[in-house]
């Protein structure tokens, strides 16, 4: 019995010690850096952000506005903001991330244009051949208005002349009609030998 007491105590102490050791080992293991899965990275070639980093509502609005100016590459004439496609969604996320990092609209548009070409702009840049897109509609509308104006004026002028000489022209038309009838009767009379009244 005398030997049993110290033996039980030492077993308990050993168990406690082992438990503590196990706990500390677990704590140390948790503190060790666990090799994280490789973070995928892509070089965008954008350089340093030239604007202020956006957040909250301001970020939401700026993301929508910029997404609305860019064309969804897999859609028919839809903006990145309007399209529900996964490609547009990825582009919206990219725009949001870049705006949150402080990149300006111009930097972001230049990045997308560098990858997709000018096609990605929903509104083409007003330069070179693109100027036709801006000029032709203006010329077409101006020409149409001018044509309508000229036609209206011409119509008004001829109506005015018609009012003044209405009687004369009516008489002239009657005379011409009568002359045609007389001529016809004369022709028939000559052919048939009948006398002319």
């Amino acid at each position: 019995m005398e030997h049993e007491q110290p033996s039980a105590r030492s077993t308990l102490s050993t168990a406690l010690l082992l438990g503590l050791l196990g706990l500390s080992a677990a704590v140390v293991a948790a503190a060790q850096p666990v090799p994280a899965p490789a973070e995928p990275t892509v070089e965008r070639g954008l350089g340093e952000p030239e604007g202020a980093a956006l957040s909250g509502e301001e970020l939401d609005e700026a993301t929508y506005e910029l997404s609305d100016r860019l064309r969804c590459p897999v859609c028919q004439g839809l903006s990145v903001a309007a399209s529900p496609s996964p490609s547009a969604l990825a582009m919206r996320e990219e725009i949001r991330e870049l705006l949150a990092a402080g990149y300006t609209d111009d930097q972001i548009v230049a990045y997308f244009e560098g990858a997709y070409g000018e096609f990605v702009r929903l509104v083409p840049k007003p330069e070179g051949f693109n100027l036709l897109v801006w000029i032709v509609p203006v010329i077409a509308v101006a020409s149409g208005l001018l044509w309508v104006l000229l036609q209206t004026r011409r119509g008004r002028r001829s109506r005015g002349r018609g009012d003044e000489s209405g009687e004369d022209s009516h008489q002239a038309a009657e005379d011409a009609e009568l002359a045609r009838y007389r001529e016809e009767i004369r022709r028939r009379a000559t052919r048939g030998g009948a006398g002319v009244p």
């Binding site: 490789a38 973070e39 995928p40 892509v42 990825a90 990219e94 990858a115």
Partner: protein, 172 residues
């Protein structure tokens, strides 16, 4: 029937440029969209493959690289698979072939490769950021990158064995 000369001239003046414009449009193949990236350094990336290996484009400098954006749900990707498989075997020592998974899940990719074979590591592109950096419209799109890291050619749609051979022979 009398034709009003003035109406005829105005009509032709309006219609002929339109017809000429549309006729010029028919001369272009929509698959031959030029990429602004051709002739420029390829956007570098560091992506993990399906089997956990990390691939860095920069580390492959010195040999031609073929980067193909593909997915299992795209029919032309399946169509071009034998051509890529053949080319990857033919140029096994001299060219690196990399596939970038475009909007697809890993299980589908693994299953496809098990059935049809693999022509190169399939890199995962979370968020599609690599596809955006490369201006990808939709799979498949193939980029030929020279040993100096510059993109020399881009093919939209299924790439043929002939095109692969011509371009890669030119790079070697």
């Amino acid at each position: 029937m009398r034709i009003n000369a003035r109406v005829l001239i105005i009509g032709l003046a309006v219609v002929l440029p339109l017809v000429a414009f549309l006729a010029a449009g028919f001369r272009f193949d929509p698959h031959e969209m030029s990429s602004p990236l051709v002739g420029k350094p390829a956007p570098s990336f560091r992506l993990q493959s399906l089997d956990g290996e990390v691939w860095e484009l920069e580390a492959l400098r010195g040999k031609p690289v073929v980067v193909n954006f593909w997915s299992t749900w795209c029919a032309p990707c399946i169509q071009e698979h034998p051509a890529l498989l053949g080319a990857s075997r033919h140029y096994a020592d001299s060219v690196q072939f990399l596939g970038v998974v475009y909007q697809d899940d890993t299980a589908a990719i693994a299953s496809f490769q098990q059935r049809h074979g693999s022509w190169g590591p399939s890199l995962l592109d979370p968020g599609g950021k690599t596809a955006i950096a490369y201006g990808v419209y939709g799979p498949p799109e193939t980029f030929f990158i020279g040993p100096d890291g510059v993109i020399v050619d881009k093919v939209i749609g299924a790439v043929s064995g002939g095109h692969l051979k011509r371009t890669l022979d030119g790079l070697l």
